[in-house]
């Protein structure tokens, strides 16, 4: 197979990644994330209406009359399905949901509540905290694993690639105001696993080649390693993306955000294994001596 000179573009793609990260961070800090009821507390109702009667404006109007605080109404999947979210969660009134249903039926006709989620402020704060802890813990565990398995230069490269993927994926969610809920946390954790997986495969090859060739500079060597593992990289990301696309398209509305986050994560993860992890090795001037020295110790 023809060799592709990935290493020629290390600099330009590093600049691009740098810009993407800064833009993501700016959005994350100033715009923030669109937390769903899991993390913000409040009530979510997924409802199905008769074909004829309802549209977003009508539904929003009838909800606004009920004094529930900030109400958001969105179409969900098809024309007759809607998701309504509002801040108020009155769990101590057992008839709360029932009353909303009655009032709504009076104004827009028969509705079917397909899903109701009602999360109190204490629980949402706990869920948010345990989500953040889970992500932090997984990053730490990866760091530990790769630190045991590889030399520190490699660990640094892999971890930078991980942060790159997580930050940009969350950045995309912030830019497009996509909802962050519990399943997005699961997606982020899986992205962390996948991105690490992808980086490790290339790094294993880099290390093997470092042992084999004493005289090839790391700049060249990373390119050789990337090329040698390239068809695997492509095939695996294609099959993973095929599976994810199938979830995204056919898996129903509930899994949309999850599969989208994973799709982004796989794309960034594949990219960062080549353009973040490897340039780090180059700039840290990794050579045969790096691994020989460690092995002697």
């Amino acid at each position: 197979m023809k060799t592709i000179y990935f290493n020629k573009f290390y600099k330009s793609f590093n600049i691009l990644s740098g810009i993407l990260i800064i833009v993501s961070l700016v959005f994350l800090v100033f715009k923030g994330l669109n937390f769903g009821v899991d993390f913000k507390g409040g009530t979510l109702i997924e409802l199905r209406t008769d074909k004829s009667s309802a549209n977003i404006t009508k539904i929003r109007d009838s909800f606004n009359q009920m004094n529930l605080g900030d109400v958001s109404v969105k179409n969900f999947g098809n024309e007759t399905d809607f998701v309504v979210k509002f801040e108020k969660q009155n769990s101590n009134d057992p008839q709360f949901i029932e009353e909303i249903k009655t009032k709504l039926s009076n104004s827009i006709g028969t509705v079917d509540f397909r899903r109701v989620e009602n999360v109190g402020p204490k629980v949402s704060a706990e869920l948010l905290r345990s989500g953040v802890i889970a992500i932090a813990l997984s990053l730490a565990a990866m760091l530990l694993y790769i630190w045991i398995r590889f030399e520190w230069q490699f660990s640094l490269g892999a971890i930078l690639a991980l942060f790159h993927d997580v930050i940009i994926t969350l950045g995309v969610f912030s830019v497009f105001s996509l909802e962050i809920n519990l399943s997005i946390v699961a997606a982020v954790l899986t992205i962390v696993g996948y991105s690490m997986n992808d980086t490790v495969v290339i790094f294993d090859r880099v290390r093997e080649n470092l042992r084999k060739y004493a005289d090839i500079k790391i700049f060249e060597l990373t390119n050789i390693s990337i090329n040698e593992t390239l068809s695997r990289t492509i095939i695996t990301s294609v099959t993973t993306l095929l599976a994810l696309l199938s979830i995204f398209i056919f898996g129903g509305e509930i899994l949309k955000g999850f599969s989208l986050a994973m799709i982004l994560g796989v794309i960034f993860g594949t990219y960062s294994s080549i353009y973040i992890a490897n340039p780090v090795l180059v700039s840290l001037k990794v050579s045969q001596r790096t691994i020989v020295k460690e092995e002697k110790e």
Binding site: M142, G193, N197, E228, I235, T239, T240
Partner: protein
């Protein structure tokens, strides 16, 4: 790496078949509990309600402190120590002691064998911590004392919750403790949790108290409003009888008034008390108070001796049934708040299953087609490994009766996409080895050997993520971590035992063929 002993081949085959059987058992019916296992569907797939309840322990703490004050008064009286000015304030008891006895009180409270402030050896803690300023003592629950209190009220509450849920008769409810002040209630198949919510939301503290005609009652009086909010009444604080003495309650029709009532029967102690109180109170009105609201206050026309009575109060048959249920199941030690609720209707659950299976089939076909396109015959081997992987994964989930959720299905699909990675790594490595090696058996062998550490590394990273998710996640997300984690194990098995077995067989048969892969 290509050699397999006969025994090994045999055991791989048997293992795979047995586990796969459990996958199939999901779709068949057999009259045996062990052999007809089904995968458990999560609430998001079968529909149902998830409620997280939190006990409001404040009233319990106050109540305990009040009874503790009585205990203290008696205890010090017996010890001939004069104490006064008992106050309960900010979850603590404050009182004054006469000057000469301060040290005595201190040592009584501090004693490891103290009966008034029990000491728990294993936790190195008294029930109460105290502070002393001059003659004033301030006692509050120690951390352990508080834990003890919370645990006991949680134990009581969970029992009552279980009784109430059982009485409603939903199918296979799941009621669990969470921490030391929460109860998780899962109600599969329950579409509308409104009734359960209103039943669990009531403490159901029932008391009978006389309506007071004059305010100079020796026990004091309180002003309570009627249930329907129509009016208020002054009620004596003396409790004639409480719900504790109730043995049974059921909704009935009163034949004379044609009204739905709740009739109850009392235990022997209760019947005696009730008989005595009603004999003395003929002509008075007796208020029936539930959770601080008067349901009704009928006039006592004659003594009620037999221990049977009726509660009237504008009931519908439904509300009478619910009240009877609440009274039968007993009062909660403290109010419960619903702090999280998730309800999925059965048709949404069905839609989710269909969508999940649809995307699994399509994702599977796409991956299989792609692998065949890339590797031809070896693609078929990888695909066979993938199929057995799916059977093993679903089989293990069934065998261990794991709960399958919608994200769990997504985890299976993701496993399909990522599982081929190991075979791809191996095949690519073999291709490289074949460039420099003429003996194809050697090339295949070293292809397997050299890719092994990489494959392990790559899978361990994903496994780490799955394990963390398992411990931190809840409900549906836990389901995802289970399928993802088990999927990694079955992937490794199917790649290293099944695919390698077939590869080995094929390569040894065709070792002289050109361009094997």
């Amino acid at each position: 790496m290509l050699y397999f002993s006969k025994l090994r081949v045999f055991s791989v085959l048997i293992f795979t078949l047995i586990i796969s059987y459990f996958t199939i058992s999901n779709f068949t019916k057999v009259d045996d509990e062990f052999f007809s296992k089904n995968i458990k569907l999560g609430l998001d797939l079968q529909g149902g309600s998830y409620l997280l309840l939190e006990i409001d322990n404040e009233p319990v703490i106050t109540q305990r402190l009040q009874s503790k004050v009585l205990e203290f008064k008696k205890f010090f009286k017996d010890k001939d120590i004069k104490v006064r000015n008992f106050v309960i304030e900010d979850k603590s008891i404050i009182f004054d002691v006469e000057n000469s006895k301060i040290e005595d009180v201190k040592s009584l409270l501090d004693d490891d064998k103290s009966e008034i402030n029990p000491y728990f050896q294993q936790y190195k803690s008294h029930q109460f911590n105290f502070e002393n300023m001059d003659t004033s003592f301030k006692l509050e629950f120690s951390d352990y004392g508080l834990v003890l209190l919370k645990n006991s009220s949680l134990d009581q509450a969970i029992e009552i919750v279980r009784r109430r849920v059982d009485e409603v008769g939903t199918n296979e409810p799941n009621i669990l403790k969470r921490g030391n002040d929460r109860i998780l209630v899962e109600l599969p198949g329950l579409d509308d949790p409104g009734r359960i919510k209103s039943l669990l939301g009531k403490t159901a503290n029932l008391t009978f108290q006389f309506i007071s005609s004059s305010s100079e009652e020796s026990f004091g009086t309180e002003k309570l409003s009627f249930e329907d909010g129509s009016s208020e009444a002054i009620v004596s604080k003396r409790i004639v009888l409480s719900g504790d003495n109730l043995m049974d309650a059921k909704p009935t029709m009163n034949n004379q008034t044609n009204e739905t009532v709740v009739s109850f029967s009392l235990d022997r102690v209760g019947a005696k008390k009730f008989g005595k109180a009603t004999s003395n109170g003929v002509g008075k009105r007796l208020a029936i108070v539930l959770d601080g609201k008067i349901i009704s206050a009928p006039e006592v026309r004659e003594p009620i001796i037999g221990g049977n009575g009726q509660i009237s109060g504008n009931f519908t048959f439904k509300s009478a049934t619910d009240l009877a249920l609440l009274l039968r199941s007993g009062a909660l030690p403290a109010p419960l708040n619903i702090i999280e609720e998730r309800t999925v209707g059965p048709d949404l659950g069905k839609d989710s299953i269909n969508a999940g299976i649809m995307s699994l089939i399509i994702g599977f076909i796409l991956v299989v087609a792609f692998m065949f396109y890339k590797y031809r015959f070896f693609g078929l081997i990888a695909n066979l490994a993938l199929i057995s992987n799916l059977f093993l994964l679903v089989g293990i989930l069934t065998l261990f009766e794991a709960t399958l959720t919608l994200p769990g299905i997504a985890g299976i699909i993701l496993t399909v996409g990522m599982a081929v990675d190991a075979n791809v790594l191996i095949f690519e490595r073999i291709k490289e080895e074949l460039k420099n090696e003429n003996n194809s058996i050697v090339a295949f062998d070293s292809g397997y050997t050299k890719s092994r550490t990489t494959i392990l590394d790559a899978n361990i990273t994903t496994l780490i993520a799955a394990v963390i998710l398992f411990f931190m996640g809840s409900g549906p997300i836990k389901g995802f971590s289970i399928t993802l984690g088990v999927g990694i194990l079955t992937t490794l098995f199917s790649v290293y035992f099944i695919a390698r077995l077939i590869t080995a067989y094929y390569v040894i048969k065709n070792k002289h063929k050109e361009k094997l892969i």
